[in-house]
Symmetry: C2
Subunit: 401 residues, 2 copies
């Protein structure tokens, strides 16, 4: 192969090794890298750096723990990917400004193009984008879905128009609305009941205050893989609510009755079916994990001073504090936040400098948010393996030589 991306790819291949070494760790062995050779990326996202990714399926691609850097923002090339159904044709991003959004449940309903949305206002927000099932891979009951560990997440920058500006331009929300409902622009195959597969999500109306309709991700036009030409972004809410290729925005009295809302993305005991009476995957909970050392196979850590680093966030609240334990949670010390604070919806990077003697360690992190919520020790068992923020499963096991 001799095309332009190779050099970057080489960097990223090395980056796994490099990240592994970040806190004084030896690099992954060639064997470990070979074993880790992933499935191919889906065609619509084949520009991602595959060496930094774990491909679960064509609709589920995770960032390797060791590929996360310490620069707060996760570059688009290594950002995780998750689709509920096949995306629309790539060409919808070719003339992004002509994409139309239908707006209902406002006093002056109608349609508006992306080009015209760009005339209404511009804002930029950093958010943690995280799949509801991030951490599912730590559950023991074989919860259905991609077996994500920590990598179905990323802190990214979105630019777009505040939803509140769009609503203002359309005369305000109609009386009685209690939910904001977004519908994806995927084509529904003929012969399939649209309710079964339509990506349509309702969130409480209050989320409108922080929501934006985004056309730009990390400084570049939003690619199809991440919802271009236009995506609903609801800072602090799980990924599924951030509807891709949004074609319709409605302010509604009730939640939508499509499967993905009614029975899908509901937290319930193992063995139970989803139902509208169960909690929906809306606001994210407080969470943190360590990225280096990563505990990945083949990693070895050299004794001495090591910079242990990771990320912490808390949905609509900022992370206020992170503690690190070197002994599996028996004792804890405060870590330091470093780097710029991108606001309450972003994650913070934390660093803890430790002097490690040879031996085996279980290194854990535990975050507390500005509302006083602290990560629990254990996962909350649930059928689909949602919203895992237990610190014990997220701890890394490291051998120091």
């Amino acid at each position: 192969m001799d095309h332009p991306i190779d050099i970057r790819r080489r960097h990223l291949l090395l980056s796994s090794a490099s990240a592994a070494a970040a806190a004084g760790l030896s690099t992954l062995s060639a064997d470990a890298l070979a074993q880790a050779k992933p499935k191919p990326l889906p065609k619509f996202a084949d520009w991602k750096y595959i060496d930094s990714m774990i491909v679960h399926s064509a609709s589920g691609v995770e960032t390797r723990r060791s590929a996360y850097g310490t620069s707060v923002i996760v570059p688009t090339d290594i950002l995780f990917l998750r689709n509920n159904i096949a995306p629309p044709d790539e060409m919808i991003t070719a003339d992004a400004n002509t994409w139309e959004l239908t707006v209902a449940g406002v006093n002056n309903p109608g349609r508006i193009t992306v080009g015209d949305l760009k005339r209404l206002g511009i804002t930029t927000v950093a958010t943690v984008l995280q799949c509801s099932g991030n951490g599912r891979g730590f559950f023991k009951h074989k919860a259905s879905g991609s077996q994500w560990k920590v990598g179905a997440s990323g802190c990214v920058l979105w630019s777009g128009v505040p939803v509140s500006e769009v609503v203002k331009a359309m005369g305000g929300v109609s009386g009685g609305a209690r939910f904001m409902t977004s519908t994806g622009g995927e084509r529904i195959p003929k012969g399939i009941d649209p309710k079964r597969v339509t990506v349509e999500r309702s969130v409480p109306l209050k989320a409108m205050e922080q929501a934006l309709l985004a056309w730009e991700l990390n400084g570049e036009p939003l690619p199809l893989a991440h919802g271009g030409p236009l995506r609903m972004v609801i800072p602090g809410y799980y990924g599924v609510n951030n509807v891709k290729y949004i074609g319709r925005l409605a302010f509604t009295e009730k939640e939508t009755s499509v499967n993905i809302q009614r029975s899908g993305y509901r937290v319930r005991p193992i063995g139970q079916k989803g139902a509208a009476s169960q909690p929906s995957m809306w606001e994210m909970n407080v969470k943190s994990w360590i990225n280096s050392p990563s505990g990945e196979p083949g990693e070895a850590v050299r004794a001495g001073t090591v910079q242990i680093h990771g990320v912490a966030f808390a949905g609509v609240n900022a992370a206020a504090r992170v503690e690190v334990s070197l002994d599996g949670g028996r004792s804890w010390k405060n870590a330091r936040f470093v780097g710029p604070d991108l606001g309450r919806f972003a994650w913070r990077q934390f660093v803890y400098s430790a002097r490690l003697e040879p031996g085996n360690y279980t290194i854990a992190s535990r975050a507390t948010d500005t509302a006083g919520n602290t990560q629990p020790r254990d996962r909350v068992e649930n059928e689909r393996g949602y919203s895992h923020n237990g610190w014990l499963d997220h701890a890394v096991k490291v051998t120091v030589a």
Copy 2:
């Protein structure tokens, strides 16, 4: 062509058009795009999105004004490029952790690898990286060097170790040191006087407080094109001081006597030669410009409400305020800052919402920093076309139809 990068490239090609349309502008014509077809990128940076770049030479590549997004951070793929001499071999980034830095002018001088630097500490800083000659293309006296307009600049995230931590680990700075001197790792061709070409820059010792030795750019391992495996980053200082592939760091009583410091990068009247008595290109001055509308050839703006947006920064001070004029500076209105504040060394994005009737406009921006410095109207004429921050030349001429 049928390789992975194509899809992103398509995005970026479209992004020029897309950005042009951001404030309700019509897209660039096919003719304008064809005319704008650039020279090829240098091999070590051929992974950049050429459609977003203006290639002046193999060592000077600028970001198109219309390619800047509004997400604060400029992605590495479209970040400008400037080298003083040919970079080292790509392979120095292949095993980044073994790269060695020699440290002198400290109480315990010695050598340290990147791998060991990573054990000393980690921080992340957002800075505006800007070439001293950014804006040179606006001078009328044919100043020697790349004819940059606004695109030899970018706000980026760096991760690395604070220089102060390295100094502490090496016993502190030796008595008498007044400068911090960084030497690039380029190979000097045989038969050439090293003083003529060595990239070695001295800055006042006080700059150490904010400086870092960086191995990561925007969340990925620092590529060769931007100084990998290790770069000196001096927030608030012009690009040239941010020495790439740094091989030696010295705390010195005097400035280095190599040409690039002694006579190069000195501000002097037109026609004069460079000399050590003239001001050196250290701290950047207050500056702003509008990115959309871009005023690029072929752009047309449709009448109505338009979101005028751009960036503002001020070296070691934060930008405090930006005004926008629609009439070439006769009257001014305050613009709003939007998006996260990444700290005093970063730029802020500003937005001004204007209702534009058909006609011709000269749209200007004027920034003021926290120290009370305001951009002047006019450029300060100087031999090499350095440090241009006059608002008039940076204004965009726009026809609204």
